[in-house]
Symmetry: C2
Subunit: 225 residues, 2 copies
């Protein structure tokens, strides 16, 4: 059975991670709409990504991109997280919203500083309301490697309170050529978000270009267990 | 240059993780003192571990073990963490205390529930005071694999505010046959502690026997960078 691939909106799609994800999904056959604060900037970036990927990428203002996506991926800095979620809220009811946000607090980005709410993902759920299926993922993927089509040695941990919604996002990870692993409830996103600061520390201290994580053990796909 | 190996006290050394670590360190040539609430129970367990490992293991009450160790490793359930740290506090001033505690809150141990203080490690530092060098590590090591001398595919993330103290604990990881990686400040322990609940979730959902984590990238030993 083949199913139509969902249209993916990438809010913050002109940033490093957003553009890298958009390009790889377009290459994998997904129709992608990237969003930016500035619609014309999004259109220009989309044109470049479409050319590079050979896929279908268009650009719009963030809110319009969110409205047009079957599934909405949010790739914005933590400082803009709340404002952008409030901006797109009315466009995403009943959709899956994939939050990639890591709550880094500059200048000490190599230090874990989780928010009082527990995680950026839980903040997103509270802003968007319970009708929205918030899933968090892609915290550790090195954007520059994805963008250059380099091999990325990194599993994608996927968190969310709906197993079915997590499963949709596992497929998005697989479309990037990565392994997606169900990591449990949305509250568990704190682990991945915190681990990002640890990886930043490791990159600096141990002079690594984009450290990632792999989960060891014989992990069976969740469908089969 | 060879240096005398430190004597390691393992507080909570009759538990699964404590006994597994004690046995492997004894096998690697360290002199190990395991502690338990009950000194005679510690002595019996030590006898067994000495026999199995062919190394030097003795047993005492937790407080006496902590007093006798050059370096003190704490392996206790989160529910007993505070009380045991208060018990050993007067014995560990100026020592390195390695906290392995994960703040699991039964019954939902597969759900991240970090304490308001940020992490168990930060609680330990606040109980023991600033004179003690608290380092946290060994959160993800599968005790049953260590104990059976099985291969353990897991890096050991080491956190602490003193780089030198972290370095001592990296060596303890290497003595287990594992790779120790500096993970940054003690506050970063939150990442590893939270990740333990994610690994428990993965073990259950994906039917894995002791999932672990590996950090990817060309990680150079910190001494060489």
């Amino acid at each position: 059975m083949t199913e139509r691939l969902p249209t993916i909106a990438v809010v913050g799609g002109t940033g490093n991670l957003g553009a890298a994800l958009a390009g790889r999904w377009a290459k994998a056959g997904y129709s992608v709409i990237i969003g930016s604060r500035d619609a014309s900037r999004a259109a220009t970036a989309a044109e470049g990504l479409a050319k590079e990927s050979g896929g279908q990428v268009t650009g719009r203002a963030n809110k319009d991109a969110a409205a047009a996506g079957d599934l909405v991926v949010v790739c914005v800095p933590f400082a803009n997280h709340q404002a952008i979620l409030e901006e797109i809220r009315s466009m995403v009811s009943d959709k899956i919203v994939v939050d990639t946000t890591v709550p880094l607090v500059p200048p000490k980005v190599a230090r874990v500083q989780l928010p009082p709410e527990g995680s950026a993902a839980q903040i997103a759920q509270s802003i968007l309301g319970q009708g929205v299926q918030v899933v968090s993922a892609f915290h550790h993927v090195a954007a520059h490697k994805l963008a250059r089509d380099q091999a990325v040695a990194c599993d994608v941990l996927v968190f969310g309170d709906s197993k079915a919604a997590r499963g949709r996002v596992v497929k998005l990870a697989e479309a990037l050529g990565l392994r997606g692993i169900h990591g449990g409830a949305l509250a568990n996103s704190a682990a991945a978000e915190a681990l990002t600061s640890v990886l930043i520390f490791i990159n600096r201290a141990h002079k690594v270009d984009g450290a990632g994580i792999l989960i060891t053990g014989d992990i069976m796909p969740l469908e089969d267990v």
